[in-house]
Symmetry: C2
Subunit: 138 residues, 2 copies
């Protein structure tokens, strides 16, 4: 049963040209269990509590590879850490600056109207909308 999930993940990695080692599947298992945003440290903690031992270096190597191959998206809103977002199709985020939590906003719920002309000699790579929020004051 668990084994089946791992087989599916192996296929997913293969589709993106990533050969599947045990460690990479362990990491994928954490990330792709549900749509979510995690920092490298959170991933390492989760692996630990799942009794999987994967070194920090391998976690970072793997995350960078997943990003390069389009399996993951990096989100940069918190200067202290990079978040890895297991949802790769276009969408946006709330960022709670107090709790440092990211919350998805489906692309359909925000409409960005006219776009300014791009600077000469450049092409657009992506559009990120971040709504910074904080807990309501008492």
């Amino acid at each position: 049963m668990q084994q089946e999930v791992r087989e599916q993940l192996k296929a997913k990695l293969a589709q993106h040209g990533v050969s599947a080692t045990n460690q990479r599947i362990d990491i994928a298992e954490v990330l792709f269990e549900m749509p979510q945003h995690m920092s490298a440290e959170q991933i390492i903690e989760r692996l630990k509590s799942n009794d999987k031992s994967v070194s920090k270096a391998t976690v970072y190597n793997t995350l960078n590879m997943f990003v390069a191959e389009g399996l993951l998206r990096e989100v940069h809103v918190d200067p202290e850490r990079t978040f890895y977002d297991s949802t790769t199709h276009p969408h946006h985020h709330f960022f709670n600056v107090k709790t440092r939590e990211l919350i998805d906003i489906p692309a359909s719920e925000i409409s960005v109207g006219q776009m300014p002309p791009l600077p000469a000699g450049t092409v657009a790579e992506g559009l990120d909308v971040v709504i910074r929020i904080r807990p309501s004051p008492v």
Copy 2:
């Protein structure tokens, strides 16, 4: 003449409750010369080439204080460094992921339509739109 600029900056700092030391004015001089985005290191370099010697610690302390007092805005798009934006009124950015440069987009040039409801118990603090760009392929 130069002296006059420094007097104006001193007044600007005072308005924001920041007492004006020589170092703080040196830093303000660099930042507020024109609307721009600089990393701490770029600011330190500029100070050096202006023959102003301000220690790294003081630059960081000052930048944090300016941000806290609303004289500056931090921009987080590049995981490797924080940018300090001398334009504090609402606007958006192009970020060239190759050259790591920020370019302003006036708020009027982007219209963000409907906004999704905020998560319960939170209030909005700000809206950031970043259009990631890269040099056109040859």
